[in-house]
Structure formats: structure tokens, C-alpha cells
Subunit: 347 residues, 4 copies
């Protein structure tokens, strides 16, 4: 059983609940260091808990009390049967229109960023991505432009009218990133950086949470729970390939994950064919497969000149290839009852 | 370097080639027990070999001499740049029309087989599957009806006009199976049963070769090479899910494998969403994803009454669900420039 | 529930049991094409079955009736609480003495085979391995000497006094192999070639069953059940590495599998560090690790001159390295209460 | 090529190097936000770089210039052929004495911590572990006592004389943690939290870096490079199990990783059998296997009363089981030329 306090509940109210829990014979656990207090009852069996729901619900400062039968609660479709839609500027991720998030892996310079932004806008993308803080396997690789990259991304967003997405690596950058971009991305490597998830959850902005390539679907849903428990339910999940023994591609897109997540969670799920395939030659096929399987969007790396890219060149599409992909995606989307914004308007 | 002898080359011709190889300073290796002799030169470096191609090509009984730079040769797109099309009755697998192979996992009795056959025929499938010899993880599970199952499958094929597919487990059954069915399936568990592959290759019938869930794409192509080297190039590959750490589904469909195989091989590649997902709830999403990604067809388990199925019930579609899938697949196929036979005719 | 008939039960007895099963309201399933008939009751719930054990046990020709709560029965430690020991010549695999099975991957010629045999004998191995029929990923690779290889292996066995082990690929070779060698090995690629398992089970000889690198421990135990159900309980399991995303080594030795198998099964479990590591540099460390973790023996590839080996050269130990390994293994074995025959005698 | 500046090099010196790099025709890349500046030359081919080593080495403020042929440099055995030994109190990790790091998963209260500390000390452990900040898959699970946990750990360390180890989750906690403990652990989930690695690297304390279960050995070595590049070469690697398809255990210990890491890196490598197996029943076998394979130590979870543990109870050893393990480990260690401190002294 979990007792979720109201945001801003007084310390005395929290203490009174704790006392009540102890009096009822259970050990209370309180999540530390976050705004919204959640008190879990450790060691209690389900039957005992059920009787106490009303008792605890009535205490001052308590928002709600829930009996958790599956490990994730807020992300579960049981507690939220309809699909969630996350509004980002004019796009409603999880609705009938697909989210097409495109742009370069890394922001490298003004010319590259603006050119990429213009190209993806023209092709029909509705969100602009660009990395300013890059998590690189090697310390000798390009690590991103940092804040000056954020400025370029924001400028490109303004010029094209596209909402922007960038990745957070370090909690210290959170406020700065939140000032510059519309959507905060938690990358695969930080999917279980739980403290970062909590801090990101305390910012109101929509979050794209990428699946760690070594983690199960349930772990991804549990990670989203960390964000949602802070009061931010604007979470978009992203399947970007898992590790497997197959070495013909960089990762293995877990196509099954799309219908599985749709079954168990109300959160939107998008796919990242660029990382999953790791080779531009396969990106179109994988993107179309994901859309046909029900993905709510795709995140695609597009670079004006992939061979000179400072990161992920081999898996980045040239603008003209991306335009072709958009045409194909519009047809496949239509075949499964979805559409792509710009192209749909033209029709 | 590999010296491929003509089928029916005389023993004296083979011996003369071996002598020539030894004289040139190399150790010959001859594939044993198969009709078409292939003599490989062991221990030779590439540069040395290249000079000898003409020398050996000129010997009597030699069909061709090839320098192999990639591990598979006959399956490679380099030696056969256009897509292969495998003709099975009226269907050309690998052409614009998708191969839709449907039917029950196991043939259980006459009523079930005929009902399933009628249902998949009406929904637009163009090949009929049914297992008579079943490879079961447990010796206590139903192992198939054997020859009497083949008879039922053949009857169902005649009644519906659909070509039939069944799996071979034991070399001793090969001739019997070949009498009853149109396409022989080598299941995932026998993908590297090389002797079986060779014997299947000596039968002229088209072969569906399923990927072993623990094997790489390259291993699958090498396995197809065993069949093709026997003179049978009518091989259809099938991606049916690989093992991974994800346990929300039975296997993980390797969507990437579809464009990868299309790039490196000319052989058709189909997908089996039933085994990959292991749950009927996910079959439609996975099937559509595979078709959008470029699969040349799908193999789907359909059972008139899944809860009573003697094998794979949880992943089998009811006929009405299969009909829905066919409708969706027709739309997705059209979106990627393919079509489904029956439905296309109706349009 | 499974009704196991006596070997040689009359057809009329089998039919009477089937009738009784149907009369009791269940669907009988009979394993086809094997000597010992096993009749399983399909569709029955456990409670119903329990009451019928005595009823069916009393029928003529019935050997025993078992309620199966775990998927494997004969391999389970529940039905056989003490460790099984498989006697092979003077060695008792599963006892305190470790089984050290060594020799070349492939038998290449008389000199190589005898030299390798002499070397491993001198170093203290107690079983001699050599491949005559080789399952090779590529059809262009050396496929083994066949029967003439078996003759060389048998000769080497006679000369050294070591019992011999070789791999079976094709059911047609079974009788020939059984004439020449003491232990039949079912290789990883055939672990789920169930029909081969059944036929091997009908031969009385001890069997080494290697784990398929893509299969779970439970699948391995189920595969052993196929052999044991034919009346042959002389099965030795072998962990030889599983597939994983790690590509620094050929496979990943699943060390955990050793205590897991010891917990759930009474069958001996040995390890194959040569295949698991795929590089002779790692073989010693992996072999010692397996012995310390409780393996009942190891299978190691030893070749007089690895660089010229026709298969698995990179992972084969030179005789002198093998001798070093034996010394280290003797010390580690002693540390965990086991010993190596020859060396222990010398001590 | 990488130009490593001296710690505290003047900005003007860094700028002069950058200018020199650009003048030589290359694009410089500077790692941002860390104390020790490293300037990488992007886009340069190896041959060109080699000629410039002396040129750049001579510039003021440059510590050294290295041509990197493998992706990790400082962690490579090529640059440091002998084994590294990391001194922690009286223990030299990587030397002949094994590091035995034991204690509870989570610090729960004073009594539990002191009891566990006393028990592992008596059994012969030479480092004490205890988690104060816990990375938990579920936000509803116990997240650790935080700073008050650190206080208890420090007290237990003082009372037993054992150096202490705890895990860092959030950069903000780094200084506090460094005040309380002797060794900082970066957990598996943060192995690629590169910014955290950099900050940890700037603290002089020894670091235990655990392998992420979805990451390759090479990724682990690259992660250690992030720490070492900050000037902290006191890094101990830890293999704690990787994800695989096997579900009989929580993770799969990658035993091969031990000799692989020993071959390519000079850093000590220890094993964590508790997480790798996930079940106390297997911990002893796995620990012994790791030691026999050459691990420089083990990290074992020990709890006075596992059933009441707030985390990882099922994989924690009771003190008496741990004592048994220590006895067995002493024997296996001796068999491979290593020893355990206390017990060795007693012998």
C-alpha cells in the first residue's frame, strides 16, 4: 500500500500519517528528498492493507491511498484505461497524428543545426531534436557543445516553429535545459539514474524516456513511475533497440515491445530506428515497421552531411532520404489509421 | 577457393581434380555423402588461389570455380543481384504478392484441419500450414499425428486449392513428407542440423528455413548454403524471433533482420509473428510491422478454437482475428508497394 | 499424469490402458515410434489425476504412473535425490573423481590422433574425445573423416586405454558410432533434435548432452528427459557457453548453470571451456572456475599443433598447456573435495 | 591522438595548444567542465598524427601526448604492463591477497549494520560494504537511509577496523560520501553516467566500478577511462552478472570476463556473486568459480537475518554461510596462488 500525500502537505500532516502507520503495526517508508511525499507500508500483506485504505485516506494531507498489485501503478493502463496524450506545442503525442522527432545526433555548429532543422521541418517533422550534452562511450569522443548548443537548438526551434527536444545528463544542467527546450529527453544510459528521474519529474516539462538497451519493458515502466510519482505524467516512452547476440546491427529493435507497452500502459511509445539499427540503410525499414506495429511516433537522426558528423554519422539519414522516409511513413500511417501532420494537411 | 563439380561428374574426374589440387600444393577437402561434389582447397591464401581459378576451371567435370570472400556464396546477393522468387503453386514468394502461410500449429484431427484450412483460405491466405511431426520441448507433450496428419493436410490442401507446408524432423520421413506436401519446412531447432539440410536440399521441393532463435543472421545464411549447395535454390528464409533477456514475450522478433537479409541475400525472407510474440494479442502488431519492414510474407498460426489446441494455443489466432489481420495487412502491404492475392483481386 | 508402460508391453495392454483413460474422461496421448510406450493424459487437472494413479497403476503392462509437477521428471532430483554416477570404463562421472575428456576437435589423420591421445593420457585425462562427423557452420569447412575417423579414434583408445567419446549427427550413423566408441555425444546444435535424442536413448551407451547455446537450463533438462524416457539414464550434461551480447569471447560460459543444475537434477554436469571461451588463452581460467563451482568434469580441446588444426584451432590447447592446466585443476579439485585420477594416485 | 595537459595548466597554455592543433590542420576537441584538460585531434589519420607527437609534446603545459590505437588507453595493459594494485587501508587490491568485500545490501539500522560488520570481520573479510543510497527499480521500495546510513557505516568501520565501501547515486552526494567512506562504488546502473564518473574521478578515493549488466567488457573499460582521465587511477572493476535469456538466475555471471579483462587491462577485477546469481544457494559456487578463474576478490552480500532484509534478502548470505564460504575460498585461493588475509595468517 502506498499513501500519496498532497503536494505541499505540512510536515505535521506527514508525521501524523507516519504515526498512524506505525500504530497500525507497519513500518513506514518515506521517499526522501522529493517534493511530494509518498509513504509506503513495508512488510504488510495485501489483505491487511485493504482494510486500511479508508482509514488512511481520511487523514489530513493525504491525496490518495492505493493498493499496488502490479509493480508500476501510475504508468499502468488499469489506473488510466484510455491512451494518454502528451501535448507538445501543436502536437499531441499519443493521438492519431504521429510524433516525428528529427534532427542531428549532436549539435555541431550553427550552420549544421539550422540546415538540419530546416530540412526536417520541410519534410514534415513536428519536433526538432539535437544533442548538446552527449553521453559518449569514449571520453575521447566529442561530448557536445553544452549551453552554446542549447542556444543553437532554441534558435533553430524558433526559426522553424518546431518544439525542441534535448537530452539531460547531469542534474546540474536541468534548469538550464528546461529554459531552452520544450521536451527533456532522458537517454538510455540514464534510464535507471533514479535520482535524475525524480528531479526531471519535478519539472513540469514533457519527458521522453528512452529504454536502456539492457533493461526489460517492466523496468522501463518502473522508471517512468519515478517521474510520474513526482507529479509529472507527461512521459513518452521510447524503444531504441536492445542488446542481443546478433551483431549484424548495432542493437535489436524490440518490435514486440510496442504492443506489449500499449497493452499494459497508457503512456505513448515511440521508436528510435536510428539507434536500433545503427546503419542508415536499415532506418527506413525499421521506422515503417514500428509505425505499422502501432508506435506513436519515431525519433530519427538526420544530418546534412553524415560522413562529417561528430557522432552517429553511420546511422544518420541525409535530408533527402528522410524526405523519402516521410513519404513512406505517411502511407503506412494511413494504413493503420494514423497520419503525419504536414502531409495530412496537404491531402 | 571452392571447385564445384558438375552433378554426375565421374569419380575419375573428381579424382583428377583432387590430384591437380594436391599437385598445386594444397590440401583438398571433399564434402562427403552428397550428390554434387564440391572440392575446397584448405590452407591456401587468397592470392595463391586467384591464379589457379582458370587452371582448375578447365578440368573435365568442373562446373565452376569460385573465390569466396564472404562465408556464404550461393545465398549472397553478389552472385545473384536480383531478388529470388520461389514459385509455389500460383504464388511467387519474393514477388510483389505476399506469401500468407496460415493454419494450425499441429494437425489434430480431420475436422480441425479442414475447418482451419477453409477459414484461412476464405481470409485470403495463399499457403496452408499444419504440423504432423512436432518438435516439442517436453517428451510428454503431443508430438503430432505423423503420417495420418500428412494425409489430412494433403486433403485440406486439395479441398481449398492451397499449396501445403509442413515441418521435417527426421531424415527418414523426408520421402514421405515430400509425397504429401508442396513445401518442406526446416524448423528453428533443426536450422543447424546440417545433414538434414543436405538431404532436404537433394529434394527439389521449395524449403522454408526458419532461423534458430539463438543463431545469428549469418548462421542462417550459412545454413541456407547447405541446402543450395545440393542444387536446390528454392529456399525461403523465416525470421521467427530470437532469444533475449526480455521476458514479456516468448521471443523477440528481430525486425532489423529483414532489411539486413534483403541487403546481403537474394533469398525471400518471411516473418512468423506467432512464435516471435508467443501471444495472440501481439500477433497483429508484429505481423504488420514485419510487412511494413519489407518481409515477403508471414506465417501465422490459426486455430478454430485456440484454448483446446494441443500446441501453441496461446499464440494462435481465431479465424475472425486472422481475417481482421488480413484486412490490415492488405492496407499495409499496399502502403509499401506489395499486395495480398485474394484481396487484391477483389479490389 | 503419465503412464509409463513396461518395455515390450503387448499392444493389447497398451490399448487396454488407452481405453481406460478414455473411459475416465481424458484424452490419451501416446508417444509415437519409440520402444517404450508412454501414455499421457491430456486436458486433465492435477486433482483429478491424483485419484487415478492407483487405478491405472494396476493395469497389466503398466510399469509406473507419475504425477508430473515439474516439466522434467526423470532428470529431476526429486525423483532421484542422490547424485547420479555414470560409469564409463574405470571412471565414474559424477563421483569424486573429475571426468577429464580431452582430445582434438576433429580427427584429422592417424598421426595427429595418436599423438593427441598419447599427450592427454600422459597429462592425466581419463576420456578421449575426437570428432569424426563435424557439424560445421559452413558447408565449405572440413566436415570430418567419417567412419575412417572412428577407426582412428578407436585405435587411439585401445593404445592409451582411454574410453572414447564422439559426436553423432545423423541417426543413420548411430549403430556404426556405437560400435566404435564408449560414449556418444549429442552436440549443442542437436540438443533439440528430439528424434535423434530418442534414438540415442535406445542405445544403452552413456550420452554426453551438450547445452544448445540459445537454450535455457530447463530446455536442457527437458532434452535429457527425451533420452531417459527411452530407458537410458546414463546422461551427462555439458555447459559449453551460451550466446550473449558480449563479443569479446565466442560464447559466455554460464557458470551459474552448474549450481542450478546440481540443485534441480541428479545428473552429472561437466563444462566445456574450449567452446565457451573460444580462445586458448582463456581456457585455463574458465576450466578452473568451472571445477571450483562444482562441475563434475571438463571437456577440453587439445591438438598437437593448433595452428594447423582443421577446426577450432584458436581454442585448442597445446599438450604442454594442457599439462599445466591439469596441474592447476588437480589443486583446485582438491580445494573443493574432488580429485583427478592419475595425478591423485601419484600424490 | 590525445594531448593530455598538466593539471592546473594555464588557460593560455591550453589555448596555445589549440592554436597549434588548428595550425596543423586538425579540429581540436576539448573535454568540457573537468579539471584536467584533454585535447583530442578529430579527423586526423593515424599516420599524420604520429609525426606530430613530438611537436605537441614540447608545448608548455602539456603532460603527454598519446596515439590511441585501442579505444581505451589509460586502462590498457599496453600502457601499464604489470598488474595494478589499489591500496585500501591495509589491503592491496590486485595483489596476492584477495579483497573480500562483505556486508549488507542496505544499511537498515545500527544494530543490523554493527552485527553484520562484526560477523564479516570475524569471518575474515577485509572491506565492509553497506548501501546508504539505494538505486531501486521501484520508487515504492526502500531507498536507503541516506546520510544517517553513512554515519552507521563509518561507525561500523571504526569498530571493526575495516575500510568501508558505499555506492554513489547523485553527484550532489559525492563530497558527503567521500567524507564518510574509504572506497566509492559506482553501481551497475550508473556505469555509463559519464558525468558522474568524471566527478568521482576528481576525488582521490579508490573507486569500485561495477559493470552494467547490458554492457560489453569494452564499455566497462571505456567507463573506467573516464575516471582515470581525471587523474584517479585507483579503479577496481567488478563483474556482477550480465543479462541473458537464461531466467533460472537473476543475471548470468560472465566468467570469461575475468581472464579477458586480465589480458587487456592492468586494473584489478573482482566479482559479485550475490547479484550475478540472485539466490544465496548459488553464491558459494559462483564465488569459488570466480576466485579460481583469477578474480582479485569478491563482493558478497551478508545480512544477519536475510528474510527481513529491506533489499536483496534472497541473495544475502547468513553470517554462518559466509563463514563457510570464507573457508572454501581460502582453499581455492591457495590452489591458485592467492590467499585470504586473516585466515592465511591463522594457518
Amino acid at each position: 500500500m502506498v499513501i500519496i500525500m498532497q503536494t505541499g502537505a505540512a510536515d505535521s500532516e506527514v508525521e501524523a500519517v507516519i504515526e498512524a502507520v506505525e500504530k497500525a503495526g507497519f513500518r513506514p517508508w518515506i521517499n526522501p528528498g522529493v517534493e511530494r511525499k509518498v509513504i509506503a507500508l513495508l512488510g504488510a500483506v495485501d489483505a491487511e492493507k485493504a482494510e486500511l485504505v479508508d482509514h488512511f485516506s481520511a487523514l489530513p494531507g493525504v491525496e490518495r491511498v492505493t493498493l499496488i498489485s502490479e509493480p508500476y501503478k501510475l504508468a499502468s493502463r488499469r489506473t488510466h484505461p484510455e491512451h494518454s496524450q502528451i501535448q507538445v506545442g501543436p502536437v499531441s503525442i499519443g493521438g492519431r497524428e504521429l510524433a516525428i522527432i528529427a534532427g542531428p545526433c549532436s549539435i555541431e555548429n550553427r550552420e549544421q543545426m539550422l540546415e538540419a532543422a530546416q530540412a526536417v521541418k520541410e519534410a514534415g517533422a513536428n519536433l526538432l531534436r539535437g544533442g548538446a550534452f552527449k553521453p559518449r562511450t569514449s571520453p575521447y569522443s566529442f561530448q557536445g557543445l553544452g549551453v552554446s548548443g542549447l542556444e543553437l537548438l532554441a534558435e533553430a526551434g524558433r526559426l522553424t516553429g518546431l518544439p525542441t527536444v534535448t537530452e539531460i545528463l547531469h542534474p546540474a544542467d536541468l534548469k538550464t535545459i528546461a529554459e531552452y527546450v520544450d521536451v527533456i529527453q532522458v537517454g538510455a544510459r540514464n534510464m535507471q539514474n533514479f535520482r535524475l528521474l525524480q528531479e526531471v519529474g519535478q519539472i513540469g516539462k514533457p519527458v521522453i524516456l528512452k529504454r536502456n538497451p539492457g533493461c526489460r519493458i517492466q523496468d522501463l515502466l518502473m522508471a517512468s513511475e519515478y517521474i510520474m510519482l513526482e507529479g509529472n505524467s507527461n512521459v513518452v516512452l521510447c524503444e531504441r533497440g536492445i542488446t542481443s547476440f546478433e551483431n549484424a546491427t548495432r542493437y535489436t529493435l524490440d518490435l514486440n515491445a510496442i504492443p506489449v507497452i500499449k497493452r499494459f500502459s497508457h503512456l505513448p511509445i515511440i521508436a528510435d530506428p536510428s539507434h536500433a539499427a545503427g546503419d542508415w540503410r536499415y532506418v527506413t525499414a525499421v521506422a515503417l515497421g514500428a509505425v505499422a506495429a502501432g508506435a506513436d511516433g519515431v525519433m530519427v537522426e538526420v544530418h546534412p552531411d553524415p560522413p562529417t558528423a561528430l557522432s552517429d554519422g553511420p546511422q544518420s539519414l541525409r535530408p533527402e532520404k528522410f524526405q523519402d522516409l516521410m513519404g513512406s511513413m505517411a502511407r503506412v500511417a494511413a494504413a493503420v489509421g494514423r497520419h503525419i501532420g504536414t502531409l495530412a494537411e496537404q491531402a
